[in-house]
Structures are given as structure tokens and as C-alpha cells.
Symmetry: C2
Subunit: 468 residues, 2 copies
């Protein structure tokens, strides 16, 4: 899997979009805010005429411009307090090539109006631009940035660690079977491969940023991590275990192939503080001012706030499970779609009662009478919600709970040559939503948590890297 080409949060603003399912990431932003503010203030105090600020892995949805507005607010407030004119702000939004930048840009007119209204026309000016590309490499000209921010992004690796498929006499041997990430059963070489990839990637990240930052530039980075020295600890693996369970349920239903699950490994790593410190020291361009860990609920606390609407523990637990499932789905669906084939709807045993299917039948639809006949025959079958004829392709698409065998038998009464082209889940539509979710049992009593780490770093040297 080419991570830089494939990975993106779910686009648009629909029910399964990242924009609608990013409360966890919003929570992480709010926890990190005091550190971000402090770093910005230290830069503003030096009264730069122009400030280059980058948000790496900005994604889309409300969090993206929300962070930028917070940064602008802090600068504006500080300049007012110091009675100094505000610097020209060059604000750069970065994410991978497939990120939904259109979604962000559509909100920009409102954003610019808000700045003008709240801060006056003399503030700034602010120039917002988008810089698509992988942050594991150079993104910006040398010495062009003063402050770099990244939230909920640096746990993504540049690639799936190499060495997870080892060659032996009988061909390629897949290791880490049935798992998507590290787990208690992962072998030593899998653990090493993941750590190696993290160290390499984070090192490249730091040396790239060191070139781009001005002397005394600052970074605040927050990403998924763990407190335990054990990389297979529950706190950093739990969400992948949940997803693996859902995928294996789909294997047992015959919806996806077990080999596909075996060969999928997440390009992800949740490091512990010691691992972070080691890379920062080895790379040598940055001084680590502060590393802190905060626990974050996987449902972002969103369900708790409304828990009065649930009358039983089971109901609350289910609601939280759905929230967690939606959060995970909004993040991983692009990768699963790429690995398991297009139009992969995360359909699982748990939520699907009666299965709604889409059956496409090939049958000659020569004239109006033919079409009417076929329409009539299929309409007699029980459990059908949609029949669509396409005379240009000579196909009939039937959606419903009806048995595909029953459908083809009916059509063959009219034309013996009719064949089934495909049977599959109905195309994703809002109304089918409930049949297509990864629903994971998520007990509210023994709530699992994931940790998030902050790294506040300062580029205390020139842009030349040196090993300390």
C-alpha cells in the first residue's frame, strides 16, 4: 500500500465523513491547546514581521480551520496586549494528496470574513494556502516557518514496515496473521519492524522540519502513543484488535478473504516517551522541552454528555460502541477500501439482521415490451425495494432482501440466456447506513483508553542538523 497516495480521512460531510466523526481528534486538540498557545506566545514576543505557520496532517472538517482560528486568536490577543502591530501571517495547511482540501476551501470565505469582523481589517494580512504531500520529506522552502503544529497525524508511518512478509522456500510467508497491528501474539521481528519504521520516519520528519524552521522556531506535536514500554500493550493496540475482530467476522461470513486480512498491516505506530526522546536526541536538531501523556476516551466523551437519553447500560454501551466504530471507520476506511477492493462497506455480522443485496442481471432489453415484461416478472418477487433497467447495457439492477437465485429464475422464464453479473452489498446510501457499520461491542464499565503524547520541541540551532 502506498500510504501517501491511499490514506485520507473520509471525505465530504455525510454521516460517515471524518468531518462528522472527529470528536476524539477535537478533544486531543483542546488538551494540547495550552502548550500550543505557550509556544506561539514565545514566537510573537520576538515581534517577527512575517510568521510562517504550518499545520501538518490538517485533515478536513471543523477541526482544521478551528486550529488555525485558535492560532490567529492567540496572536491577535498578544499583539493587542503588547500594543504591537500584528505580523503578516502565512498559514499553511498540509495533508496527503487525497485529503479533502475542497471541503476546507469551501469554508474559507466565512473564515476570512470572521477574521475581518472580529479583528479588524488592519490585522494580518493572513494568507492561507494548502501544501499537499507527505511530511516524511521536505514540504516548505528553507527557513520559511516559525511554528509547526501537528495533531493526530504523526502516528501514521510513511509505509507499512518492511519485513512483515518473509520469503522462504515455499514462497512468501505472511507473518502477523489475523492481526492488523502489533498484538500480544506478535513475534519479536514484527515488533522490531514497527519500531524501526517509526524511528526512521520520525528521524526524517525532524530533519525535514529542522531545515524549514527558522532558528528558534518551535513545534508542538500530538499523536497517539502509550505509557507502557511494551509496544504490544492494550492501550496502543486495542482499536486495531477491535477492527481485526470485525474483519474476521466478515471472513466467517464469506464477505472478505482471510488471506486479505492476514496480509493487511496498519502503517501506524504509537510510541512511548523513551522512544520519542531517543529519536529526537539522535537526530539532534531539536531540544525537547516537554513530553506529556494524556488519556483520551475513544468516543471523545461525546456519548457521555448525552447519556441521560439512554435508559439502560446496554443502550449506552451500544451508543458508545457505535461512536467508536464511526470514529475508527472515518479514519481507516480509505486504507481498507484500497486493500480489500473498492466499494468496501464495513459490513459486520453484529448489526446486519436481514441482508439487503444488490443483484445485477444481464438480459436483453430490446424493446419497450421486453422491458415491461422483465419489470413485471421481477416485481412479483417479495422483498424487493428497487428495480432499475438499463437498456443501453442490457442489465437489470435489483435491490432488496430477495434471493438472487429466485430473481434469475424469474427472469429466465422470459429469456433463458439471462445471467447474474454480480451480487453484492447495495451501493452506499444513507438509508442503508445501519447495515454497513463496523459495530464493536464496547463495554462502558471497563472502558479502554488510548494515550496521546505531546512533544514540544524547539529548534535551538541553525538549520544544519547535528548529532548531540
Amino acid at each position: 500500500m502506498e500510504v501517501a497516495r491511499v490514506l485520507h480521512m473520509n471525505k465530504g460531510s455525510g454521516d460517515t465523513s471524518y468531518a462528522k466523526n472527529s470528536t476524539v481528534q477535537s478533544k486531543i486538540l483542546s488538551i494540547a491547546k495550552p502548550m500550543m498557545d505557550e509556544a506561539i506566545l514565545k514566537i510573537v514576543e520576538k515581534s517577527p514581521e512575517s510568521m510562517g505557520i504550518a499545520d501538518l496532517g490538517c485533515s478536513a472538517g471543523p477541526n482544521c480551520l478551528g486550529v488555525i482560528m485558535e492560532i490567529v486568536d492567540v496572536i491577535h490577543a498578544r499583539c493587542c496586549t503588547l500594543s504591537q502591530s500584528s505580523p503578516e501571517l502565512r498559514l499553511f495547511l498540509n495533508d496527503l494528496f487525497n485529503n479533502d482540501f475542497n471541503n476546507i476551501f469551501a469554508s474559507l470565505p466565512t473564515f476570512y470574513n470572521q477574521i475581518r469582523k472580529e479583528k479588524g481589517s488592519h490585522f494580518g494580512p493572513c494568507y492561507i494556502s494548502a501544501v499537499p504531500g507527505s511530511f516524511y520529506g521536505r514540504l516548505f522552502p528553507t527557513n520559511s516557518l516559525h511554528f509547526i503544529h501537528s495533531s493526530s497525524s504523526l502516528h501514521w508511518l510513511s509505509q507499512v514496515p518492511k519485513g512483515l512478509n518473509s520469503n522462504n522456500e515455499s514462497g512468501v510467508e505472511v507473518i502477523n496473521k489475523g492481526k492488523l497491528y502489533l498484538s500480544k501474539s506478535s513475534s519479536e521481528c514484527v515488533v522490531e519492524a514497527y519500531l524501526d519504521q517509526f524511528e526512521k520516519d520520525f528521524g526524517v520528519f525532524l530533519s525535514s522540519r529542522a531545515e524549514e524552521l527558522v532558528t528558534n522556531g518551535r513545534m508542538v506535536l500530538s499523536f497517539m502513543g502509550r505509557t507502557s514500554p511494551d509496544p504490544t500493550a492494550d492501550e496502543s493496540c486495542y482499536q486495531w484488535e477491535l477492527l481485526a475482530t470485525a474483519l474476521m467476522a466478515m471472513v466467517s461470513e464469506g464477505l472478505i478473504e482471510e488471506e486479505k486480512v492476514d496480509s493487511f498491516n496498519a502503517p501506524y505506530y504509537a510510541p512511548c516517551p523513551e522512544e520519542i526522546k531517543k529519536v529526537v536526541e539522535k537526530e539532534g536538531s531539536f531540544v525537547l522541552e516537554n513530553v506529556e501523556a494524556f488519556p483520551v476516551d475513544w468516543d471523545g466523551g461525546a456519548v457521555d454528555y448525552d447519556h441521560h437519553q439512554y435508559t439502560t447500560v446496554a443502550e449506552l454501551s451500544r451508543a458508545r460502541g457505535q461512536r467508536v466504530a464511526k470514529t475508527i471507520r472515518a479514519v481507516v476506511e480509505s486504507m481498507l477500501g484500497d486493500h480489500f477492493g473498492l466499494n468496501f462497506g464495513c459490513e459486520s455480522k453484529i448489526e446486519v439482521g436481514i441482508r439487503v443485496r444488490k443483484t445485477v442481471v444481464s438480459v436483453e432489453l430490446l424493446c419497450s415490451k421486453c422491458r415491461q415484461k422483465v419489470m413485471n416478472l421481477i416485481a412479483k418477487i417479495e422483498g424487493i425495494t428497487s428495480i432499475v433497467l438499463d437498456p443501453s447495457k442490457n442489465t437489470v439492477t435489483v435491490i432488496g432482501e430477495a434471493d438472487p437465485v429466485c430473481i434469475i429464475r424469474k427472469v429466465r422464464k422470459f429469456r433463458k440466456t439471462a445471467t447474474i453479473v454480480s451480487i453484492g452489498p447495495p451501493k452506499e446510501e444513507k438509508k442503508d447506513e445501519k447495515n454497513k457499520e463496523v459495530i464493536i461491542s464496547y463495554p462502558s464499565t471497563t472502558c479502554k483508553k488510548c494515550d496521546v503524547w505531546y512533544v514540544v520541541a524547539e529548534d535551538a540551532y541553525t538549520h544544519y542538523c547535528s548529532i548531540m
Copy 2:
């Protein structure tokens, strides 16, 4: 109409997308290329360490990165000839907030690979970013650009000229009725309003760019224009006349309201050389090196190349008409959609033979038996290609040539309370394409042409504007 929020070329890469219908704009780019190359060479000769280059109104599709690649090619070739190392290239893509930047970014990995492969890893580096916003105002930091390019964009005004609706005793009086732009019948005040808006906008454009360009920076601008001093000359109004004819045909069919056509005016102006010179001289920051006019066929020559496939003049003429219609549609559809209401499919009398309609019926679909009954009843009607039941909304959506009255009568046999929710054109899908196009009669023998103007300008002064 808020132009900056509304205007964008048709998104995606489907049949009606700008990406698939921009041969005219590609032709214009190729005509302007020698001038662009010359301007770039003059900058490269001064051996800048870093070059800021902006393409304003970049749009999406192949033309967008095509221009950037041409610019990069010229710089690379020149640096090789001079045996000098290439400058760091900061390449900025600008267009309005609703432009399809996602489409451009998806092609960037291939673009970067191509540069690395053809020019080696020591070339550049190239940093490509997107800067959404209106070029009628500041977009970039002061003194940050060396070269500005804009093609097929500056004929768009920042707004519909004010004063086209004049207030009198009986309320707002709409002038320029039944026309979308200037025409032979336009009154003097309409002509003046358009010229005023152009002068104001182009002046703001020049003064904004003057701040952003370094001293001795250069611009090459190409946009729709005219040779005649008369702003209502055919050469600059013809495409709007064609579109007005198509819209009035839709009025006579009852598809849109005549008042809506009367109140639509294009935010567009095609200036003559004298008008351009006047604004440049008045604004005073730039020296005009060259102004040239070139005629460009509205079908971009695309149909001519394949004309051997057409056996009659009528067929060729029709093919060219379709090409012209698609070109215009890809450009104006966002504005028409905004003005005439969402989901406006440019359906016209000329192409529609038997009309395919979408009829939505409201009927209670309580149980499986109810659904089967309704399905059965509708399926008996001739001329239906699709029946979709939505039990959650108690609606049936029927697509086909069948009479909606016939459909509701059938359904009422089952439930008397059934009602028609809506009748309209089927949702845009590829297979319905031919029913939805603005098809304009375009005689190949007396082919109308539009002119395009080039302005090659040099910022010969400091970034302070001065009136010459």
C-alpha cells in the same frame, strides 16, 4: 450572485467536467506559450536562488499542471544551457474557493515523479501549493513572486456590474431583459456598467500584483477579448447569445422562469486593446510590453481533427455544436445552477426527443406485501426503466417516459391517498447525458470566432504604485 463563492469550472472528470471539456483553453495556452517562455527566460537569466511563480485562475484538469510542467521545463532547459544550478521553485496554484483542487492534488504524486525522473533529483526543489481566493485582491505576501501567469480567467469580473437593476417608482426595473451579457440591443447604461466594472477590477488586479511581484517581476495574461472598439460586437458576445437562445427555449418549454433569465447577467467582460492599455497606464505599476490578439475557434479545433468520421456537413456541424455546448456548459454551469436553482440540468428542446422524467410518488409502504403490490402495479406501465421504493420515507421513485398521471392512477388503485411529490428531470447520470445538454446550432460554414488577448507586462518599478 457572489462570484467568488459560486463560480467554478465543472468538477471531477466525468463527461460534463471541465477536465474533459477544456480544449479551447488548452489551445489558448499553446498560442501564448512563446510569450510565457520569453518572460520566464528573462527572469532565469538573472539567476535567482528562489523563484515564486503563480498561475492565477488555474482551474483543474490537464491544463492546470500542464502549464506548471511547461514552466518547469523552460527553467530546467535554460539552467542546463547556462550550466547553472536550478533555483528553488515555489509554484502557487490559485483559483476561487470552489475550484476542484482535490482533482489537481490527486495528480501531484505522478507530477513530482515525472520531474524527478526527467530532471534528476538535484533539480529544484519544487514546492507546489494551492492558494484559494479571488485575484481581485491580495493573495500573496509582499515581494514574493517573480512571475505571474493567468490564462482564460481575467475575463471574469469580480461581480455582476452594479446598476443593471435600476429602482423606479414601481420597484426594481430589470434592464437587459432576455440577455445574459452585452448585445446589440443593450442600452448605453448597460454598456457603461460593464466597462466600469472591468476598469475597476483590472485596476485592483494590477495594483495587487504589483505589491506581490518583486522588482522586474513579469506577468503574462491571456483572456477573452475583442478587436472591435464596439463592446457589443459579435466576436465577444456570440457565446452568450447562444446560451440566451437555449435558455429562452427552456422558458418556452416551462422549464425555467422568464424572470430568472431576465435577471441573469454574466460577470464577464471581453475588453479591446485600447481598454486594456488605458487601465494599465492609469494604474501605473506596469509597463505593457506587448498586446496581441489571436482568433480562437470555440470548439478548440478538436472536432476538425476528426472530421473524416463525419459523412455530411450537417453531421460535422452538429458535432461541433455539441463540442461548443459542452465547452460552454463546463464553464457556466456553476453560475446557472446558482441562479436557476440546484440540480439545474441544461435540458433544451433541440436534443430532447421523448422526455425521460423522474416521478416521485408518496404512498404508504407498510409491509412487504404492500411494497410488492405497488411494485407490481407500476411495473405494468409501459415506458419505465426504474422503480425504487423507499419504505423509510414511504415514497416510490419512477424513472421513464411514462406519463406521471398514468403512474399515480395505477398507484391509487392500491391506495387512494397516494400523491405525486414531484415530477422533474431524472438525476444527472451518464446514461441520461444526451437528454441534458445545451445543444446549439453551430454552422460550420460561417464559423464565429472569439478573440483572445495577450498582455505581457513588466513591473519595472518598485512595488509602490505610481500614476504615470
